[in-house]
């Protein structure tokens, strides 16, 4: 296919061009208008987002809430808001995502757990926090899902996300979510401590536990987990390992495998580290109540609160 030179404004004798009405703008003016329009509107939009800064990326902010996309939001929050406003962080999966870390007093603990999160993703968040300020305590969830897969599971949580705080689809969704919550047409999904409010639908527990697959360990992810703990230790943070509770009946199905899994992770934790295992006899009364575990492994919000209070007590001791 040959280029169509007949469209050139400069060509004399180009019959198609001659037949068409004269353009209202010169080509140079047209280009200037396009470039200036994009620069002015795009620049103003970015400047407005920089000023409003709903994710607390560019300015210090005491309160920031999540309204959309947990991974994108927690990544941005981990760059500034979390290290500036919190003493401690919890890294984990959906098993700890609904834990209200605001109850761990007198610490201010942010819950960096991700639904379906793995160690690679948790490591990114924790490194962001440590890079800016050393946390006093890092709580590490011990849960098979963390080491079952490797790498980012979504396109989010990269350095490019930082610039997306100047204007992106996720940012627009954040504004939309905030507006909906303020107008009462939607409910707040997270609190200011990163706790996610969710209701796990009740389902047969054997559907949650699918045998050996549940404890599949990706060696690279396991390495990420170890590196994450080592980085936290190197920063001077106190290390607390937390084994989230599972229901007693679920434990009967999966307990042996679960303990085997825990043994794989234990070498990452040293003698001075605090290891809290909620699958031990002192917690049997909470664990044996089926109502606390809709699917055997996720806690209801009220049950999660009970365990978080216990966690706070053990840490303060």
């Amino acid at each position: 296919m040959q280029p169509t030179s007949s469209t050139s404004g400069s060509e004399k004798g180009a019959s198609v061009s001659d037949a068409l009405p004269r353009p209202r703008l010169s080509a140079a003016a047209w280009s200037r208008i396009v470039i200036l329009t994009v620069a002015v509107i795009g620049g103003s939009f970015a400047a407005m987002n920089h000023y409003l800064d709903p994710m607390g990326v560019f300015h210090s902010k005491p309160h920031v809430s999540i309204y959309t996309n947990e991974r994108w939001s927690k990544y941005l929050l981990s760059t500034r808001y979390v290290p500036e406003n919190f003493d401690a962080v919890l890294v984990g999966t959906s098993a700890t995502d609904n834990w209200n870390t605001g109850l761990i007093l007198p610490l201010r603990t942010y819950n960096l757990s991700l639904e379906g999160g793995n160690a690679s993703e948790a490591r990114v968040l924790l490194e962001n926090v440590i890079r800016r300020r050393r946390p006093k305590i890092v709580f590490f969830c011990i849960h098979p899902y963390l080491t079952a897969s490797y790498g980012r599971q979504t396109p989010y949580m990269t350095k490019a996300d930082y610039w997306s705080a100047l204007g992106s689809l996720e940012l627009l969704r954040t504004y939309q979510g905030e507006l909906r919550v303020k107008r009462g047409t939607s409910q707040q999904e997270f609190n200011e401590f990163g706790q996610r409010f969710f209701n796990i639908p009740a389902r047969p527990w054997h559907a949650t536990f699918n045998g050996a697959d549940w404890y599949r360990v990706d060696e690279r992810s396991l390495a990420d987990y170890g590196a994450m703990v080592a980085n936290a230790r190197a920063s001077g943070a106190r290390i607390v390992a937390v084994v989230p509770p599972v229901a007693t009946e679920f434990w009967q199905l999966a307990g042996t495998a679960f303990q085997g899994y825990q043994r794989q992770l234990m070498p990452f934790f040293h003698e001075g580290d605090l290891v809290i295992d909620f699958n031990t006899p002192p917690y049997d009364s909470l664990r044996s109540d089926r109502a606390n575990f809709p699917d055997g492994i996720h806690l209801t919000t009220s049950a999660a609160d009970a365990f978080v209070r216990e966690l706070a007590r053990l840490v303060s001791r």
Partner: protein
């Protein structure tokens, strides 16, 4: 730093355009020097460790082109031509296929695949043949290097012929009104960026959710996801080409068009006249024609053999897996059937049926292009035929919670993604088969306030999508 990145759009491109136009005021030679440096820098920024491969390829082909031209006898000319072809194909095979051969994969370290190797190799093979046939004289080293490494096309084409590029490189651009071409360049660059950032990415979201779980798809989902990939690759590649053409126009050059509404085609022959046009022309000129010349007479049988052989080679050019062989083979079969039909019968299919049949076949072939292995591609192809209830197991319309992998397709169509995935897909799909192409629009380009506002708007929307986490590399950067 691909075209769809902010460092390229906001920094590299403006600096190069300004530097080139400023250098052109000094002399075309100074401008060529600036452009060559920019092109090598662009390549290095995208794939620095493979820059030596590009430079070595340029130097060897430069020497071979001169050797061919220096020979007065036919025999040494043929020998040098074949030496050049063997070198180029060897380089391509070394990086593309060697790692898949059991013995060689051990002997050869993993160097990765040099960006644009398939394209700049073919471009130089064409150049050597043109020099051999005395259609072009061999060029100075700087000119040759710039022709090969010219940054608008070095990464993924369009494959440009020397007879088009060398006169422009000599003059320092085409001889048209620069301001008008720059405006057209800005317009088509914006359209290409929009195609990639908005349309291609929305179809990628749908296609990936399904085709990443090929064994979970129902028939309906197989159709939706494969069709989404067919759309994705069109908007991705034609978006890239539009940007390449726009970048070239902004500097002051014309490079070939590569797409002309391929999904409107009513036959496979027409499809290949509209899809990846520069590759089709290369195949016709440098594969099909030499193969058919091997036969005494250009019979229908000879044409069929030449077509199949050309398309199989074109398939393998994409990669070393059986999937690409089948991709080429399916197109080869369809082209042969199309040729036979044209020769043996005067009957023509109704336009709608011909269009639907063509698009379905193209869609089927792209399944083999997209899926990572033969068994999953065969499985998805089989799923296109609903042996039982096409909705059976469908996660979209029947049971969103049935199977975890595919239920996400339903999530995409749910509210949060409606504006960023559902709506663009609903606009883009009809555009691909019915609407005007960016080139038709460009040919009729008028610098008015309305077009300025339209281009500014699509640039702003494209930037918004680009700055979201869904920006990915171009599909053809892999080849």
């Amino acid at each position: 730093m691909p075209f769809n990145s902010f460092p390229f759009v906001l920094l590299f491109l403006p600096v190069v355009v300004i530097a080139y136009r400023a250098a052109l005021r000094i002399s075309p030679a100074a401008a060529r020097g600036a452009l060559l440096l920019s092109s090598l820098l662009f390549y290095a920024l995208n794939s620095w460790k493979h820059l030596p491969v590009l430079i070595a390829s340029i130097l060897v082909n430069f020497v071979v082109a001169h050797r061919i031209a220096q020979q007065s006898e036919r025999r040494p000319r043929v020998v040098w031509l074949w030496a050049g072809i063997v070198f180029n194909l060897g380089l391509l095979c070394l990086f593309k296929y060697a790692s898949t051969l059991p013995l060689l994969s051990v002997a050869i370290p993993s160097w990765g695949f040099p960006l644009g190797l398939s394209f700049f190799t073919l471009q130089q093979v064409a150049l050597l043949v043109d020099v051999y046939e005395e259609l072009l004289p061999p060029q100075r080293l700087g000119m040759h290097a710039l022709f090969v490494s010219f940054f608008p096309y070095v990464t993924a084409g369009p494959i440009s012929r020397g007879k088009r590029m060398f006169p422009q490189l000599e003059r320092g651009g085409n001889d048209r009104d620069y301001a008008f071409d720059a405006a057209r360049g800005l317009a088509i660059f914006g359209m290409g960026l929009f195609k990639k950032a908005v349309f291609a990415e929305c179809f990628r979201t749908i296609a990936d959710k399904g085709l990443d779980h090929p064994y979970l798809l129902s028939s309906l989902e197989a159709w939706i996801c494969s069709f989404a990939y067919t759309m994705q690759i069109y908007f991705d590649f034609s978006g890239y080409t539009d940007m390449a053409i726009g970048v070239a126009l902004l500097i002051g050059f014309d490079i070939p068009r590569n797409f002309d509404a391929p999904y409107r085609s009513r036959s496979i022959i027409e499809f290949w006249q509209r899809w990846h046009i520069s590759l089709s022309q290369f195949i016709t000129t440098y594969l099909y024609t030499p193969i058919i010349r091997l036969f005494r007479r250009a019979t229908l049988r000879a044409a069929a053999i030449a077509t199949m052989a050309s398309m199989l080679i074109a398939g393998i050019w994409h990669g070393s897996s059986w999937n690409f062989v089948i991709f080429g083979g399916l197109h080869g079969l369809a082209l042969v059937a199309n040729q036979l039909w044209k020769k043996k019968t005067k009957r023509r299919l109704p336009a709608l049926a011909a269009w639907a049949l063509t698009l379905t076949w193209v869609n089927l072939a792209f399944i083999f292009f997209r899926l990572p292995d033969l068994s999953s591609a065969l499985h998805v192809s089989r799923m296109l035929i609903p042996f039982d209830n096409p909705f059976a197991g469908s996660a979209i319309f029947v049971s969103p919670s049935a199977r975890s992998g595919v239920k996400e397709i339903a999530d995409i169509m749910a509210r949060p993604a409606l504006w960023t995935v559902g709506l663009p897909a609903l606009i883009a799909a009809p555009l691909a088969v019915l609407g005007p192409t960016s080139h038709w629009w460009l040919d009729d380009f008028r610098p008015t306030l309305i077009t300025a506002a339209a281009i500014a708007a699509i640039l702003l929307i494209a930037f918004l999508f680009m700055n979201s986490a869904n920006a990915t590399d171009f599909i053809y950067f892999r080849f």
